[in-house]
Amino acid sequence: MTAIERPAPRFRGLSLPRLGVSGWIVAGALIVSASAMAPVVQNSLMTTQGRNLEALAGEQNALRVEMRQLEAEIARLISVERIARRASEIGLVPGANAIFVTIGETGPEPPKIPAEHLPESPESGSGLAAP
């Protein structure tokens, strides 16, 4: 009887590696370990990010506080009583005879610190406006 020689199939699809029983056990253990580690890693990442977030929030708050402190300092420095006191210290005195000049043009915009949120044209002037 003549045996028919058949070529071995070149491609037989994906085949799983041949693992022994112990190999499967090791692989399973790895999968279980990875699954167990995932929440730990996730938790660690969240903690790190939470810490960063908290640090950023703290920094934001510190900047806000600093901004308010600067706002108060600006207000103190431009307070009319302090300016008058300082003017007096350097020898300035109120003008005795103001000269009034009537001009047809509107004056410059008043300074906007710290009233940046007020309407653009306050009813009363903030300086000695020309009549």
Binding site: T47, G50, A62, V65, R68, Q69, E71, A72, A75, R76, I78, S79, V80, E81, R82, A84, N97, A98, F100, T102, P110, P114, A115, E116, H117, L118, P119, P122, E123, S124, G125, S126, L128, A129, A130, P131
Partner: protein, 575 residues
């Protein structure tokens, strides 16, 4: 194989019963703890695990009419100590010394405070400056917990302090604008609930529930800081010059009722406020709205306006002054016992003749005269937005001990008590076309999103006609510019006004002390400014014209120039 069976002896049964009994007790206790009293124990556990605190909202700022800050809140810390941690003496000593160094408290006092309080968290320092508190917290001082808070600061120092008022420890307003607009300024406090460890400290990354605080809106006053400063300085100088015990100045825009400056002397000092001192506590009350006085001859303006409005007299109506008017047989003399002969009604105001005022009141009759007083708002609060406003006092025929002489003396400002703000409000109606407008100190509110809400002008009556108002302006102009020297005449602007000098009433009589005042407005035709200057018990006994008149004149020149009002060309040329 046969099993051996234990013999049922007491050595077996007794332990079994004991164990069973014990199990039953434990089980019963478990049922009690976990089922019957579950809610109570759960609540106790929660209270042990969680702590909560109020987070105050940032209080709105107070600005002048041009947006300059007068009061604002800055960040601070309230420092608490977990008392359990300080049960360790060494920790308590180290921590208390660190806190004492930063806050200025005494370390021994701090340890005693915490040790004796019996609380889990003990407040040891309030409103610690932000940087100092932060440094302490970053240093991990044992048991120290910091909660953010805010503190009121006044960048313009004590400017307008009697208007702004003060707040209390819980950030609530106690006086002034802070009290009247407390609900708005306060915003909505938030709340933080956090998990804590056995020492009471927050557990890092523990559960935290926060209701965010909603900050209050900023309040824009009608006060102009420059005019306020001018008024405060002028008042202080006048009080000292005339040896008065105090005084007040009110500057109002008569067209809108907006108070541009409100100065009182002595005034509240924020930095040196000592509430254990009764004198300082007295300053918490704003005398412009709370204190009553007899206005004296300034009241003749109201009497004249009423008589003209009722068509009973004109500025040119004449009468004969004999120096005394008899009312039900009671003689009423002129302020200087002078006799002026034939006088017009304008002359009555110029010379401040009491008998002329009585003449007009008698033409009006008591009933109509009191109707006009009511229409001008006397005897009731003006509803200005400041706490503690007095209603004033108008004696009426229905009152006990009423005498017809009362109405006569009321016509020249006696037997009637008013507050300075009442007087200013009534005078504004006299010169602004006859409209009685509620005075106000707040112009607008600015919400956190920048939206601005302007408060409307509130006209509450029309006591006199526009024509009467125009006539009164001319008559009052003739008082300040009578053709001879008048101390209340401004250098640069036309003006009108009237002085008042009245003795201080005591029980059934008058004291030797006096209150002097001058109320005036400028410019004459279109008033932009109404000013009341009042000095209390000036020891030099100068009259209202002499003591308060020059203050009025100087303030008119300064304030109208500042407001950009063109001066009177003739007066500028005559300088």
């Amino acid at each position: 194989m046969a099993h051996q069976q234990a013999r049922r002896t007491s050595r077996v049964w007794l332990p079994a019963i004991a164990f069973t009994g014990f199990a039953v007790v434990v089980l019963a206790r478990l049922v009690q703890v976990q089922v019957l009293d579950h809610d109570r124990y759960a609540e106790e556990a929660r209270s042990e695990l969680y702590a909560s605190d109020t987070v105050f909202a940032r209080r709105g700022a107070i600005l002048d009419r041009n947006g300059f800050l007068l009061a604002m809140s800055t960040d601070t810390w309230d420092l608490y100590v977990a008392s359990r941690v300080w049960q360790d003496e060494d920790a308590a000593r180290r921590a208390s010394e660190a806190i004492a160094g930063a806050t200025g408290h005494d370390a021994t006092y701090l340890r005693a405070l915490v040790g004796e309080s019996g609380l889990v968290d003990v407040l040891v320092a309030r409103d610690v400056p932000y940087d100092a508190g932060k440094a302490l917290l970053d240093a991990n001082v044992p048991g120290l917990v910091g909660l953010p808070n805010t503190m009121r600061v006044h960048p313009a120092d004590d400017l307008a302090s009697s208007v702004i008022g003060i707040i209390g420890a819980e950030n609530t307003g106690l006086t002034g604008i802070e009290a009247w607009y407390d609900e708005e300024l306060l915003g909505t406090p938030g709340r933080v609930i956090f998990e804590r460890d056995t020492t009471g400290s927050p557990i890092p990354y523990g559960e935290t529930f926060t209701t965010e605080p909603v900050p209050g809106p900023d309040i824009v006053l009608t006060i102009d800081r420059r005019m306020q400063l001018a008024a405060e300085r002028a008042l202080e100088q006048a009080v000292k010059e005339h040896e008065a015990i105090g005084g007040s100045i009110v500057m109002m825009d008569p067209r809108s009722g907006e108070i541009l400056a409100l100065a009182t002397y002595p005034r509240l000092t924020f930095s040196a406020l000592d509430l254990s001192d009764p004198e300082q506590v007295r300053l918490l009350r704003n005398s412009v709205v709370s204190d009553m006085y007899e206005p004296g001859s300034v009241m003749k303006v109201i009497t004249t306006a009423a008589a003209i409005d009722a068509d009973l007299v004109t500025p040119e109506t004449t009468y004969e002054d004999t120096g005394v008017a008899y009312v039900y047989g009671i003689p009423l003399y002129n302020w200087n016992n002078g006799v002026y002969g034939e006088q017009t009604m304008t002359g009555v105001l110029q010379q401040s003749i009491n008998t002329g005022a009585v003449f007009m009141m008698e033409k009006l009759g008591v009933g109509l005269f009191h109707e006009y007083l009511d229409a001008f708002g006397f005897g009731k609060p003006t509803r200005i937005d400041l706490s503690g406003e007095a209603a004033g006092l108008v004696r009426r025929p229905a009152n006990p001990n009423w005498s017809p002489v009362d109405a006569a003396t009321q016509s020249f400002g006696q037997a009637i008590s008013v507050t300075p703000i009442q007087m200013v409000t009534a005078l504004a109606a006299v010169i602004n076309g006859g409209r009685l407008i509620e005075p106000r100190l707040v112009k607008a509110m600015i919400a956190r999103d920048g939206t601005r809400y302007d408060l409307p002008v509130n006209v509450v009556g029309q006591p006199i006609s526009e024509a009467t108002s125009a006539t009164m302006r001319r008559m009052l102009g003739a008082v300040v510019d009578p053709g001879w020297y008048h101390p209340g005449k401004p250098r640069l602007y036309t003006a009108g006004g009237k002085s008042g000098t009245a003795n201080v009433p005591i029980e059934a009589s008058y004291d030797d002390t006096q209150i002097v005042s001058f109320a005036g407005f400028a410019p004459l035709d279109e008033p932009r400014l109404l000013i009341l200057v009042k000095l209390d018990e000036n020891a030099d006994l100068a009259t209202g014209t002499m003591a308060a008149g020059p203050v009025f004149a100087a303030l008119v020149d300064e304030a109208l120039g500042y407001l950009g009002v063109p001066p009177d060309a003739e007066r500028v040329a005559a300088r």
